[in-house]
Subunit: 331 residues, 2 copies
């Protein structure tokens, strides 16, 4: 068995992260990572007639550009694994329709990037595939109107609310190559401490992040140079730090959150920071992956965190379950 | 590589289907398979205060009963892979919360049962897990109000419309055992011939079923005793037969559709037949799996078919993409 500890899968042969292509919207393109993205789209509809169709174009283009840059043909790709925030993951399904690749759709809310990469790594290491593309996307406008309120209402946002990243990141995983590779994968359990506030997703996800990261570290014993969560924002990041300190396992000096990296929290009026599947996807591709390539870090624990928030369930009095999946990446 | 042909993954070591637990609602419990289900629930809310909560109870109970019957402890189960039709796959997420198992959520609409079984088989054969539970569910009432119209409206249903099965099926996959085992898995590509009618899902899914089944048969060359699709109903089943006949590959004599098996189409007023994730899941568990156990058939091509229908996308003028995943099972 390639299982180590209680919950972690060891990637025995190397699964290489060959390349990542990132596309973001205007606001993300004005943030601290502006020089690191592959493409910035300033028009919030990108010539489409709805935000949903625009999001689908982000995801499809990310995959096409990734394939183009690496001279990959459709026949080279064994599987496309993708997901997004929209009901029926339409961005993923419609992108998969246009891309015409064998397709596995997943739903993990904002945990999707790590979920797809984890699945892809297991399938490649299992000897089934040579090349897999993992992709996810989110869009501020399509997410706000589906999960919260119509943008046209111009409602005031809570200070604990986060700003859904408009962006897509597409990852090429391969059984051949060199450089950063996936070594260990931990799929999380649902953690739900009863948060019911759709404007405080960070608090809903933080306990899941703590649980999965702790389990991954106990299972693997790897001493990571950097540990990141997907989109906890300032509120959730604070909670994770506090939970580890209380547990006498301080990770503060090497822990950061993609939702606080992608925006300038002070200047960009994003309140608690970035969120959405596109958050950890684009921060990974533009920033973390490049840190690995440049040997600035050699061991990264990449964690995507998801608040499995359902407006219907919330109206029925349910709380918001959280989940976090961890991908241990090493040079 | 364990890939054969263009699109099929060969399960090298055996992945055994150890047991399947099925729960259905009252209408399904009055149909031709009434004596074959493990549990029939006659109350359409099962003591819960919403149909969504009732559906979650179906899924959670199916897994609990499956574990109970097989004396499985949580510590024996490496992964739970599940999905359903509801937005944010809430039945799956909330069931996973209560079950406290490491969780992979997928979205494949009605193709979910085969999607979860395919993923589970790859992960076990890849050497990562010993035991995986795959589960899915659907509920007529929760699906109608999410995808179509409020039930309270009492609208007349189209003759091509299908009846979403209220039910859940939970499958235990293991690397040990005897009996029926997964041998080949084909994940489908999206096929979309432009059907935009949410009351004719069978027609939307049929081309995908044809495409995946044909690809699977070309890749594997296996001569199956029985080929089933998930929930095409009478309309979609007719289209699949026609497509194969036009292709000079008649499968008519050994092909059937779970949506036409689960209900008595003439007497039960279900129009074109059953649909929903729960359709192929409960027909597999109650009927097809038992045919394999009894050696009535020895080679089954189990295909779940999904119409990735989104009310939002339909309102924006989009058509309904179809997908089908195939699981080749042999004794």
């Amino acid at each position: 068995m390639k299982k180590i500890g209680k919950q972690t899968f060891k990637i025995k042969d190397d699964v290489f992260i060959r390349d990542v292509y990132t596309i973001v919207g205007a606001k993300e393109g004005e943030g601290p990572l502006k020089d690191k993205f592959d493409m910035i789209v300033n028009d919030d509809l990108w010539g489409e007639d709805s935000w949903e169709k625009c999001e689908l174009k982000f995801q499809k283009t990310a995959v096409e550009k990734l394939m183009e840059r690496n001279k990959l043909e459709k026949s080279n790709i064994d599987l496309l694994i993708s997901g997004d925030l929209l009901n029926q993951i339409t961005s993923s399904s419609f992108a998969a329709r246009d891309l015409q690749l064998p397709y596995i759709g997943v739903y993990g809310a904002c945990s999707t990037m790590a979920l797809t990469m984890g699945l892809g790594s297991l399938i490649i290491d299992g000897g089934f595939a040579e090349n897999i593309i993992c992709v996810t996307s989110s869009n501020f406008c399509s997410a706000e109107r589906q999960y919260r309120l119509p943008l046209e209402m111009g409602g005031q946002r809570h200070m604990s609310a986060q700003w859904t990243v408009t962006g897509s990141g597409a990852v090429w995983l391969s059984n051949k190559g060199s450089g950063p590779r996936v070594k260990n994968v931990t799929f999380g359990k649902i953690t739900d401490l009863g948060v019911k506030d759709a404007n405080n997703m960070g608090a809903a996800m933080a306990p899941a992040a703590y649980d999965s990261i702790k389990q991954h570290m106990m299972d693997t014993g790897v001493n990571y140079d950097l540990i990141t969560t997907g989109d906890l924002g300032t509120v959730g990041k604070g909670i994770v730090n506090k939970m580890f300190i209380e547990d006498k396992m301080s990770i503060q000096d090497k822990y950061d959150d993609c939702g606080t990296i992608i925006f300038d929290i002070e200047k960009q009026d994003v309140h608690a920071g970035g969120s959405g599947c596109g958050c950890s996807a684009t921060v990974f591709g533009s920033f973390l992956f490049k840190k690995l390539l440049n040997n600035e870090i050699n061991k990264l624990l990449f964690t995507s965190t998801g608040a499995l928030h359902s407006p219907t369930a919330t109206l029925q009095g349910e709380s918001i379950p959280g989940i976090a999946h961890c991908i241990g990446i090493e040079n």
